[in-house]
Amino acid sequence: MAVNTREKYTKRAERVAFMANKLRLSVLEMIGEGKQGHLGGSNSAAEVVAALYFDTMKLDAKDPKFKDRDRFILSKGHAALIQYAALAEIGYIDKTHLKEVKSLGSALQGHPDIRHTPGIEANTGSLGQGLSIACGIALGLRLDKSPARVYVMLGDGELAEGQIWEAAMTASFYGLDGVTAILDRNGFGAMGPINSRFNTNPHGDKWRAFGWHVIEIDGHDTAMVLWALEEAAKTKDKPTIIIANTVKGKGVSFAENTAAFHNGIMTARQLETAIGEVSKWT
């Protein structure tokens, strides 16, 4: 991206970056001390999620079911906390309910659930299904001649699921340019680095071979994220995937680039450190 292009995004990019860290702070509060929570994969996705919810997507803060709204599907549903944080910022969820996440009877389930949470567009969590669901929604929207777009976030570990590639063929065969996938390429699965545990790379070549338009960016550079989302929307007759290179656990030093906080537990001291580090940016 050229310097003069980047300048075009400066103001919006700053706001998105601020919101991303606000979401991270909210994630830390939801996990709290001594409880398991998917910190790593939530934090890696923060900038993309913030860009979508607070800049790119057409939404109505008063009506989560607004007809021609853009849809976001978190196929890597274990990162639900970052989505809940965003839905609370918009106002679809009462912020006071965030602390009840995963508790019995809570509106905030361990994985996204349309029957419990306003603003959630699909049930995900059983990995590999979100892109197929996104294709179905996009086909339905196309029949209705709706301008709405469908965004779906995948994990790089999730790409091991064969259904992803069935869906990749579907989107390209049907020319679903209304579908934009974002690969949160943080390099780690639950057990360790993707490269050494079960390598789903190369990513760009695979998606290109499946007929997709591929854009590769730094997924924490909010100007790049905004630019890439606009490029995706301009691409006609084929779906786009934005390969967002990210850092697992981004923003919390002890959780970065490790599988330990994929679904780890923080001590009181770690939580304090984490909140201190993220608060610097909010």
Binding site: A122, N123, T124, S126, Q129, S132, I133, L143
Partner: protein, 317 residues
């Protein structure tokens, strides 16, 4: 007796529904000529989605279409629809979406293709999913009515459809209400009640004729909806009889017989005998009939079960 294939009725029903409702969409996994969904494709190509041989993706795409407000019908062979896409169906059911699945060539009706293509456990699999409706029509007319009921039903529905021409037993007019059990032969003070489903319903009626000749009065109930089972109707019919017989072209593990047993358990004490496949996979045969004999799915097997006689083939125990 008139005969007609349930799968042709399925194709006709889709076309009728598609004419009435723009929201009806159909998905297929490269078996449209066999499931007869191609009839819909010919009429409404824009609302027909060939998903290739990728059943898991097909079901998830269908749930996406449902999320976009459409009413999807997915079809493929019963064994693939339920086995290859189990988790995708489950996730759609968790979401409570209106999506419909047609498991075609159910049971042993794809006789030549053998065990990989024959579904002996699809009812069990679908029945275990909370909130799933499981339908098993006895003939082509009932198939058509059920497909219509599925479109109107708000949650996920599964229908198992036979490949062969089957005798017409029900009326072409009227509606099917999900849950409905039809008493096709009422032996008022009957010795035995036969709960049958699918292809076994016509055999149960024939068995009842034979039983009558020996002085045994049999009531025959066509259980079109295996889930949610009309428990009150089952208990009322069983209460009038001394013996309960179930008949299904399915494993005795988890199918209609299990559902009837679960209903009787703790409510009513009656001896129960199952006519079904005795915990085995299918196998190839040159004709459907010889396969039905091989697995003990015949009129004679039902008669034997109703008389309390020991089995002569693998089916009734």
């Amino acid at each position: 007796m008139d005969v007609k294939s349930q799968r042709i009725a399925y194709g006709e029903a889709l076309v009728e529904l598609g004419t009435e409702h723009e929201g009806i969409v159909v998905l297929e996994a490269d078996l449209g000529k066999s499931t007869m969904s191609f009839m819909f494709e010919e009429k409404f190509p824009c609302r027909y989605f060939e998903m290739g041989i990728a059943e898991a993706n097909m079901i998830s795409v269908a749930t996406g279409l449902s999320l976009a407000g459409k009413v999807p019908f997915c079809s493929t062979f019963a064994v693939f629809a339920t086995g290859r896409a189990y988790d995708q169906i489950r996730v759609g059911a968790i979401a409570g979406l209106n999506f419909n699945i047609c498991g075609s060539s159910c049971g042993l009706s794809d006789f030549g293709d053998g065990s990989t293509h024959q579904s002996v456990e699809d009812i069990a699999i679908m029945r275990a999913i909370p909130g799933m409706t499981v339908l098993s029509p006895a003939d082509a007319h009932q198939t058509k009515k059920m497909v219509r009921a599925m479109a109107d039903h708000p949650g996920p529905c599964y229908i198992r459809v036979n490949r062969s021409d089957l005798p017409i037993l029900t009326e072409s007019v009227g509606e099917y209400k999900i849950g409905q059990i039809d008493v096709l032969r009422d032996g008022a003070e009957s010795h035995v009640v036969i709960f049958a489903t699918g292809i076994m319903v016509s055999m149960a009626l024939e068995a009842a004729e034979k039983l009558a000749e020996t002085g045994i009065a049999a009531t025959v109930a066509n259980v079109g909806t295996i889930k949610p089972l009309d428990k009150a109707a089952v208990l009322a019919l069983a209460a009038k009889a001394e013996l309960v017989v179930t008949a299904e072209e399915h494993s005795i593990v988890g199918g209609l017989g299990s559902a009837i047993s679960e209903t009787l358990q703790g409510n009513l004490t009656r001896p129960i005998r199952y006519v079904g496949i005795d915990d085995q996979f299918g196998t190839s045969a040159l004709t459907y009939d010889e396969l039905l004999v091989h697995y003990g799915l015949t009129v004679e097997n039902i008669v034997e079960a109703a008389c309390g006689r020991p089995k002569t083939a693998g089916g009734s125990i």
